[in-house]
Amino acid sequence: MARDDALPDLLDDRDPDYIRDTLPAAWLLATLWHRAEVRGLENIPERGPVLLVGNHSGGNTSPDSICFTLAFTSYFGVERRFHQLAHKLVMASPGIGSFLQKYGTIEASHPNAEVALHAGAAVLVYPGGDWEVHRPSWQSSRVDFAGRTGFLKLAIRTGVPIVPVVSIGGQETLFVLTRGEALSRALGLDRLRLKVLPVSLVIPWGITLGDFIPRLPFPAKLTTQVLPPIDLREKFGDDPHLDDAYDYVTSTMQSTLDALAAERRFPVLG
């Protein structure tokens, strides 16, 4: 897929110089606070568009996203176009939204993802979204995309490979007690595409409702494994059945997550 000569406005806010200048802060956080480890970066194709599909953990601050972005950008260089999709409420957060835009984060939607892939970018998506990122912490080692298959349709339509990115530890940076999906429905928040209103134990606020207030993540060890690319057409033919593809991708990721969980001896400490 050739990169468009005229870069779409949507992707203009990414600022490689800003990313380069702020990588040391991300490195200090990842190294000293989270002892983060990202394995298998060599599985990502050296160039061209790729759909990186991750399991989502750690609430809205999603520290494993920060650590993976650091790892990807250090490994391939800030020059390689890399975009991440995020919930529109995250992008609308004062301060956070503009910071993320400079890192290449764009609002999660199919058209936006297609624009980025057509521009030749690596695109990181979290199909589980707010549902998975706010799962109870005792489900830390569970991949839960809630049956969402949009990422598969996107990969099939654009013909780009899927590269699974499996992380553990993020759900131990806060302790989610419940998603609060019934409360979200009762308050009508689901109409804002906010399907959850989690109750969590966080530093320094204690028990909180929702995930909107800045907080200090618990210093959980984060481990990420990048898996080899999956070409859905090669694997399932020209017209892949979505259920088969979904089962294959999620079970592959779940096996890896199980293996990463088996490596951990203690919660948070890793």
Partner: protein
Amino acid sequence: MRLEESVEVRASRQVVWDYIADADHHPLFMAGLTRWHVDGDAEMRCGSRINMRMRVGSAHVGSLIEITEFDPPADMAWNSVTGIDQRGRWRLRDAGPARTRVTLRLAYQSPGGLLGSIADRVARRDVQRNLRRSLERLKDQVEAGVATRSP
């Protein structure tokens, strides 16, 4: 941040040079190396460009480097083109009959002002250890090769 490590190898300067001037050998002896790709025909010479990364803390840190000095069998130096700002040098000097003093120098500087300086200092221990281990491996590999070739 400037780092330097040295080791004495029981081999001639030319033998040591031939070993480090072969790009294929670097992944064998450079500790922490996670990426090493020479652009073009893979032969190292002045102007060669190499994409290299080294595991330091939670990231694979490094640069696209360019060989700026290639003076057999004595000095090979490089500068970064993109990535972390770095310059380095292999320095080979005679240390007696069939003995060579090998020095590896590396100077690097992260972007990001104060936080970059702090990161450089935090990273120093990992980087220094990688350099030291690299020289130990180089010594072992070169001396093993010399022993194999000896009658």
